[in-house]
Amino acid sequence: MKHLTEEEMIEHYYSEDFRKADAQLHLQACKQCSQAYAELGKLLGSIRSPETPARGSDYGEQVWRSIQGSLRPYESKRKNSFFHWPQLAYAAACLLFLAGAFLAGRMWEYAHTKPSLASAPQQAKERVVLFVLNNHLDRSERLLVQLNHAVAEGDKVDFRLQGEARQLLTDNRLCRQSVDRSDDPLLAAALDHLERVLLEVANSPEELSGADIPRIDQEMNTQGLLFQIRVLRTKVSEQKLNAQATPKGATI
């Protein structure tokens, strides 16, 4: 049999035990616990609070009089609200200022973003032109190199070169139209020069003979044109790279 502990007896005495019925049954059955519990009850029952001294009906007023002097009145709410209103006005002004700044920012962004967005197709178009121009100059350079090699070696130029020249001639006209709009006089002059050379090569009635090529070289200065084309191709390549480096989402 498990006896009740002192704590269980105290809880039982103050009726705070959860298993009150169990404790009661045990106390009825166990003489030892019953005796200990009776002693505890006797002891706790003997402890009584000393009688509280009587205080007169005016005790509360006496207490109030004794503390009244040391109390400072609270500030009234009206006073508080009076002192608070400039702070509220200041807060409202700050809010208005913030809202204004936000709106101004949005409007500024809108005003500056719109043209940029509109220019996005223009930039894309420029990138295409640069790509085509770079390709055209590359092919033209190769054609001029072949012509110069033929001059150096005194060979004939086959009909495939003439076919290439005809194709380049068509492309060159398109490129010239684009360059005319872009306002680049150096490039326009070079393309003009190139057109004359291509026209000469393309419109030759038969295969270019060993004598024709030096004449074209001399009259058209193809060596100088080749140099010019190389310089321009480098420039166009750089422009093309720069155009590609511009982020797609950039608006400004």
Binding site: I47, L71, Y74
Partner: protein
């Protein structure tokens, strides 16, 4: 009563200091009763009542409108009473023995020899009880008084003392255990 108290509190907070007067008058008696139960000294209890109402006034802004002013001021009073007990404990010059000691009976039992046997025993018990109560820590003492004299539940004691319910229960257990140790010899004698 509760709504009336709250209306007075609102007046006080609005700047009407005198509205606190009726609150003090209304609750002074009950605050004095609990203060005396804890301190067992009239002068200390009076001091506790004044201090409790002063602290209450200063902290009135923190009073929760959903609470009961009586319970709130009651708790402040208990804290003030605990402060008094702590102060008293620090100033005690004569040590009180844990166990009953015949050699120190003159100090422990003020009026041991007077009256018939039964009265003498009763006086001994009260004197011994007072000495035993003085041996308790302030928390044990208040917890025991609230449990034994005021018939408060463990949860109420815990709330009043600002401790966990289990700590409150343990404080009561320790207090009863100490009282048993101190008072058991008297029961053996009787």
């Amino acid at each position: 009563m509760g709504n009336d108290d709250y209306a007075l509190i609102r007046s006080v907070l609005a700047g009407d200091k005198d509205a606190y007067g009726p609150l003090v008058a209304r609750h002074s008696q009950s605050v004095f009763r609990v203060a005396f139960r804890i301190t067992e000294d009239e002068a200390d209890a009076d001091e506790v009542v004044q201090e409790a109402f002063l602290r209450g006034y200063r902290n009135l802004k923190g009073f929760d409108a959903r609470s009961n002013f009586r319970t709130w001021i009651y708790r402040i009073a208990m804290n003030c009473a605990l402060d008094v007990l702590n102060k008293r404990k620090n100033q005690t010059g004569v040590p009180i023995a844990e166990e009953y000691d015949d050699a120190q009976a003159a100090i422990q039992l003020a009026d041991r020899a007077a009256g018939p046997d039964r009265l003498l025993l009763s006086q001994e018990i009260q004197a011994r009880r007072h000495a035993a109560m003085e041996k308790l820590t302030p928390t044990e003492r208040v917890a025991f008084l609230l449990r034994h004299m005021e018939d408060r539940s463990t949860e109420e004691i815990a709330t009043a003392l600002g401790i966990a319910p289990n700590s409150a229960k343990q404080a009561v257990f320790r207090a009863v255990h100490k009282l048993r140790q101190s008072l058991a010899p008297l029961w053996a004698k009787s």
